[in-house]
Symmetry: C2
Subunit: 304 residues, 2 copies
């Protein structure tokens, strides 16, 4: 059992008492998780000789993180993100398959049931920012088109805010759901994604400050792409040249996800419309990983 | 640096990215704590192959813990208590000194500025329970009296509730502050402490249930004792014979803290008053640990 690997060479005697108490946890996976959690939590406190004042500061911090959460804000996901835990969990559950698009963090700003759009529509909804035309294809690893994939896209506006961060806004902006065509292609207008700081007005912002870290994320578009027979893909496309590509506050950048976003002069856009102002284009291919049948449960995963 | 000890033999590559980012944390102790935290948090997720669903369940659980906290309830302390973390932190910050009374958990039910009482008073304040006379002495390790120590005492009533858990109650019950006399002695009436379950109507209760654990604490009186020249003592006195002494939900029992609480027939009590109903007595000696001058800061504790 991997949970039994030592978290420290010389555990505190109380750790053994707690582990013994957990041994009767009915569900084997719950037992494995709680055992590993207690081992590491205790080893952390023991190795660092955590003081009572530090313990209380941690209790107060975690309480504040919970109390900062609302229907529109998830500060614990943000905490997980800035500690790199979200990216680690994403990565180990979606190891890069050869030739397939890599996954990255989901983030706290997705909204279920976003408005649906026809292909070629403008999902901006009045969001601030320069216009941007996105055209993309969804393929399988052999290059075969993946028809009719469902595409969920969301992003921040030019001021660095997602619509859900604007309390005064009564409608969606710069987010939407589209369905790719029979060739796996989809396209839409939106606004240009810009680098933005994650919310710093809560406890996670104070943690970043205390650790001397900036809160910035490089400009990106979020995508969640689902199609029968393929693993669901949750990823971003980043803008090449962004100054924060090497220091993303949430560790989400993968080189394969960085693409050229090209600035275009006024004229006829790829969808045949005439643009009187400069606009941007992004062209990207997503490659989905075929779904595998679920592996049979390991014996220790079957609840007793 | 103890924080550098390996938390797992084969860390995930993302762990290294996060640790590198933390290397510029200005305060050395903060850097040590965050480094150890990230190592253990990542090793936990990596060793257990934490799934995205499990990660989200953990985020939801911690959010609920934070949102269960109010001015009168601290669910994160309760979580720390049932995971044995509170007792570990207590223990390593107050290692048992030879001949001195051991420390145990503070718990979430202490209230600052509890009412003050004269020696011999009844601190029960109308709390439900059989009467109990407590007499005790505060001494140093050589047996010398510790005069005029300040004694903070608090406990649950016969129904298992602390006063702060009774929303309808407008005043303190079964808690108070006394000052020992010149010989280090103190005495008071209260109600008999009984075993009680920790609050199970929140997320911590659900965690106990999922791990097959009961929520009970053996009967105890809380004491916080402070006197100049001695280390502040935070401890309990437990009732010998309690059925939960071997399975305290918060791991707080130390054999040296278990004492005989004796049931007495009606008659003249130790304070000379006549009792028409049975009552209990507890007699206990507390031995304080002399305070040592603060150790000089280690170099790595001095902020840069």
């Amino acid at each position: 059992m991997t949970a039994a690997s030592p978290a420290g060479a010389d555990p505190h005697p109380i750790t053994g008492e707690v582990l013994a108490r957990l041994a009767s946890t009915p569900d084997a996976r719950m037992r494995e998780l709680m055992t590993a959690l207690v081992r590491h939590l205790h080893a952390f406190a023991h190795e660092t000789r955590l003081t009572e004042a530090e313990w209380f500061a941690a209790v107060s911090f975690l309480t504040a993180v919970g109390q900062t959460c609302t229907e529109r804000r998830q500060e614990f996901i943000l905490l997980s993100d800035v500690l790199g835990l979200s990216m680690l969990v994403t990565d180990q559950n979606h190891p890069a398959a050869p030739g397939c698009t890599e996954s990255t963090v989901f983030g706290p700003f997705h909204v279920p049931d976003a408005p649906r759009f026809e292909l070629g529509a403008d999902i901006g909804g009045g969001a601030a920012g320069e216009p941007c035309w996105v055209q993309a294809r969804v393929r399988g690893p052999g290059g075969e088109p993946v028809p009719h994939a469902e595409i969920d896209v969301w992003q921040a506006d030019a001021e660095g805010f997602y619509d859900v961060q604007r309390a005064e806004l009564g409608h969606a902006q710069a987010r939407g759901v589209l369905r790719a065509d029979a060739d796996g292609a989809f396209r839409f207008w939106t606004v240009l994604a810009e680098a933005y700081p994650i919310p710093t007005d809560g406890p996670v912002g104070r943690l970043l400050e205390a650790t001397g870290r900036h809160p910035w994320r490089p400009a990106h578009l979020h995508f969640m792409i689902a199609a029968p027979g393929y693993e669901r893909l949750i990823t971003h496309v980043f803008r090449r040249g962004d100054r924060y590509l090497d220091s993303d506050a949430v560790f989400g950048v993968r080189p394969s996800l960085v693409a050229d976003w090209i600035r275009r002069e006024p004229g006829v856009a790829p969808d045949g419309t005439r643009r009187d102002a400069p606009y941007w284009t992004l062209d990207f291919d997503f490659v989905l990983n075929p779904a595998v049948a679920p592996a049979p449960a390991r014996p220790e995963e079957i609840p007793e």
